[in-house]
C-alpha cells in the first residue's frame, strides 16, 4: 500500500480527498479470513472460515451471539470485534430491560455506525479494525443482514461476504441471489457453504474444524452449527454438484440431522 505524508493520522485528508487511515483499516478487514452472510424471507445464515495459527492451535472463533435474535460474523481484528460485540450486547440488554422488546437490527446497526464514525474524526483515535456481518430477526419486519465496516458504513444486504478472497464468494452469491428469498434454511446453508468454499486456497478443504455456521430466523433463536453437526452439510457439499444458476429449487438431500 502507500507510504505518503497524508496517512499518519485520521484527521488528515489527502489531496485526493481520501482518509488513508480508514483505507488501511479496511485493509485489516480484507486480510481476515472470509465470512459469508445470506438471507431468505424467513432466515439469515452466517458462515465463516476459521483460521488457526498452527497445528497445535485452536481455530479462531468468528461467529458470536449478540442476543437470542441476533448474531454476528467478523473479519479482522478479533480484539476490536470483542469490544463491538460487548457494546452490541449491552444495547440489546438495555432494549429488553427498558422496553421489554428485542433490539431491532437496523437500530443497533445505526448505533454501531455512529460509534465507528467517532473514531474516524477525532484526533488520536483509530478506526475499528474489524468488519461485521450482522444477522438479526425482528418479529415485525423479518430477517435482516447488515455489513458494518471501519469506515462507519452500515448497509443492508441480501447476501454479502467479507475477508480474504471474498470476491469469489460474492461472485457465487450474485449468481444465485434471486433464488434466496423462498429458499428453505438447509438449502440456504448449502448455498452459503458453496460460497464459502470459493474463498479457500487451492489445496484447502472445508472441514468440521475450520468452518462455522450461525442461523437465526422465524421460530429459531440464534444458534451455531459447529463441529460434528457440520458433517451432514459438508457431506452434502462433497456429494452435490455445483448448482445450476436457474429459478428451480435446489435438489433436496435426505433429511438433515440437525438438533
Amino acid at each position: 500500500m502507500f507510504r505518503n505524508q497524508y496517512d499518519n493520522d485520521i484527521s488528515t485528508w489527502s489531496p485526493q480527498g481520501r482518509l488513508h487511515q480508514i483505507e488501511y483499516a479496511l485493509e485489516a478487514v480484507k486480510q481476515g479470513s472470509a465470512s459469508v452472510g445470506l438471507r431468505s424471507n424467513t432466515h439469515v445464515v452466517l458462515l465463516a472460515l476459521k483460521r488457526s495459527s498452527g497445528e497445535l492451535a485452536s481455530h479462531q472463533q468468528k461467529l458470536f451471539r449478540i442476543d437470542n435474535h441476533m448474531g454476528i460474523a467478523i473479519a479482522g481484528l478479533v480484539s476490536d470485534a470483542r469490544v463491538l460485540s460487548n457494546f452490541m450486547r449491552t444495547e440489546c440488554m438495555k432494549s429488553k430491560m427498558m422496553y421489554d422488546r428485542p433490539m431491532p437490527g437496523s437500530r443497533l446497526v445505526s448505533l454501531i455506525g455512529d460509534k465507528a464514525q467517532i473514531n474516524t474524526q477525532n484526533y488520536g483515535r483509530r478506526p475499528y479494525g474489524v468488519g461485521l456481518l450482522v444477522g438479526s430477526y425482528d418479529e415485525d419486519t423479518g430477517p435482516h443482514l447488515y455489513e458494518c465496516l471501519p469506515n462507519a458504513n452500515c448497509l443492508e444486504y441480501f447476501a454479502i461476504s467479507i475477508g480474504a478472497k471474498s470476491q469469489s464468494a460474492k461472485t457465487y452469491l450474485e449468481k444465485f441471489a434471486k433464488d434466496f428469498g423462498e429458499t428453505d434454511v438447509d438449502a440456504l446453508i448449502m448455498h452459503g457453504l458453496h460460497a464459502l468454499r470459493e474463498t479457500l486456497q487451492q489445496d484447502k478443504e472445508l472441514n468440521i474444524n475450520n468452518c462455522s455456521i450461525g442461523v437465526v430466523g422465524k421460530g429459531q433463536d440464534w444458534h451455531l452449527i459447529e463441529g460434528d453437526r457440520l458433517k451432514a452439510y459438508l457431506d452434502q457439499l462433497e456429494a452435490g454438484a455445483a448448482p445450476a444458476a436457474s429459478a428451480e429449487d435446489l435438489p433436496q438431500g435426505e433429511a438433515m440431522d440437525t438438533e
Binding site: Y99, S110, D140
Partner: protein, 274 residues
C-alpha cells in the same frame, strides 16, 4: 434540612452546611473530577440528602377495565389542592401512542413531567423511522423502570399510573405506583377507587364469566356505576369525568360527562337540604 433537634438553636458550626451553600470537604477527601461527573455530584454534602416530598396538586382515582375488543378507562376532571377543588377541567387520561392511554392519579406536576418523558420517547421512536413503534407493553416497561428508579433514589414521582392499550389483538391493562410496583389485571382502580370501585369491577367481571363477555356498552355502564359511587363517597372527586376507549380501531377519549345522582334525601336531614 437538619433533622436532629439537638442541633436546632445551636450556634452554627462550620462543619454543618444544612443548605449546601458551599462545597464542604467530604469524608473521602478530594473526589477526582471524572468521578464527580459520573456520580452526578452537583455539590458535596456533609450528610445524606433526601428528597421524598408530599404531593401538592392531586388527582383522585383512575379506573380501568378490559372488555371484549379492548380496554376502557375512566378518570374525573378534578385536580385538588388539598381540600380545595382547584382545577376543574384537567384531563387525567392522555393518549400516548396510537393504541395506548395513560391515566394519572396523584401529583399532577409529576404527571406533567411523565407526559413530557413519554412524549420524548415517542418522538425518538418516530425519528428512528424504521417501521418499529413503541407498543403498550414497551411503554409500560419503560414507565415502571422510571418509577422504580426514582423510588430507589428516595425521590418518587408521586403517582399511581394506569396504562391501557391494545397490542397484537389483545387488551393490555396495568398500573404502576409511586414505589415502582407494576401490576396487571383485567380491572384496575387507583386511590379511593382501589377500595370502593375495585370490588365492583371484579364482581362484574366474575358475574359475566370473564372480560371476553363484557361488551363496550357494558364496560361504559360498569365504569359509570363506579364513578357514581366514587362521587358519592370520595370527598376529593367531582361529577365530571371522561371515558377512554382503546380498541383495534384506536383511541377515543370522550367529552366530559356526568352521572345522575340522588340528593333528595338531604331534605329529610336536619342541617342539610333547603
Amino acid at each position: 434540612m437538619d433533622h436532629f433537634p439537638t442541633n436546632w438553636g445551636n450556634p452554627r458550626s462550620e462543619d454543618v452546611d444544612s443548605y449546601n451553600t458551599y462545597p464542604v470537604a467530604s469524608h473521602s477527601g478530594t473526589v477526582p473530577h471524572s468521578v464527580r461527573q459520573i456520580a452526578g455530584f452537583g455539590h458535596a454534602a456533609g450528610h445524606p440528602t433526601s428528597h421524598t416530598q408530599q404531593p401538592v396538586v392531586t388527582g383522585t382515582s383512575v379506573l380501568g377495565i378490559k372488555y371484549n375488543g379492548g380496554v376502557m378507562m375512566a378518570a374525573d376532571n378534578l385536580a385538588s389542592y388539598g381540600s380545595l377543588a382547584r382545577f376543574r377541567d384537567v384531563e387525567r387520561l392522555h393518549q400516548v401512542a396510537d393504541f395506548t392511554v395513560l391515566g394519572a392519579s396523584g401529583d399532577m406536576s409529576d404527571y406533567q413531567y411523565v407526559k413530557h418523558l413519554l412524549d420524548s420517547q415517542m418522538i425518538k421512536e418516530y425519528n428512528a423511522d424504521d417501521g418499529h413503534t413503541l407498543a403498550t407493553p414497551n411503554i409500560y416497561e419503560y414507565l415502571w423502570r422510571v418509577m422504580y428508579n426514582r423510588r430507589s433514589k428516595m425521590n418518587p414521582l408521586w403517582n399511581t399510573f394506569v396504562l391501557g392499550g391494545v397490542h397484537k389483538g389483545e387488551g393490555f391493562l396495568g398500573a404502576i405506583d409511586l414505589k415502582g410496583t407494576p401490576y396487571q389485571s383485567p380491572s384496575i382502580a387507583t386511590g379511593f377507587g382501589s377500595h370502593l370501585a375495585q370490588p365492583i369491577l371484579r364482581k362484574e367481571i366474575e358475574n359475566r364469566g370473564g372480560e371476553e363477555n363484557i361488551t363496550e356498552e357494558d364496560a361504559a355502564q360498569i365504569l359509570k356505576k363506579c364513578m357514581k359511587v366514587l362521587f358519592y363517597r370520595d370527598a376529593r372527586s367531582m361529577n365530571k369525568f371522561q371515558l377512554a376507549r382503546i380498541s383495534a380501531e384506536g383511541v377515543k377519549i370522550s367529552e366530559p360527562m356526568s352521572v345522575e345522582t340522588e340528593w333528595a334525601f338531604a331534605e329529610k336531614i336536619r342541617g342539610y337540604g333547603a
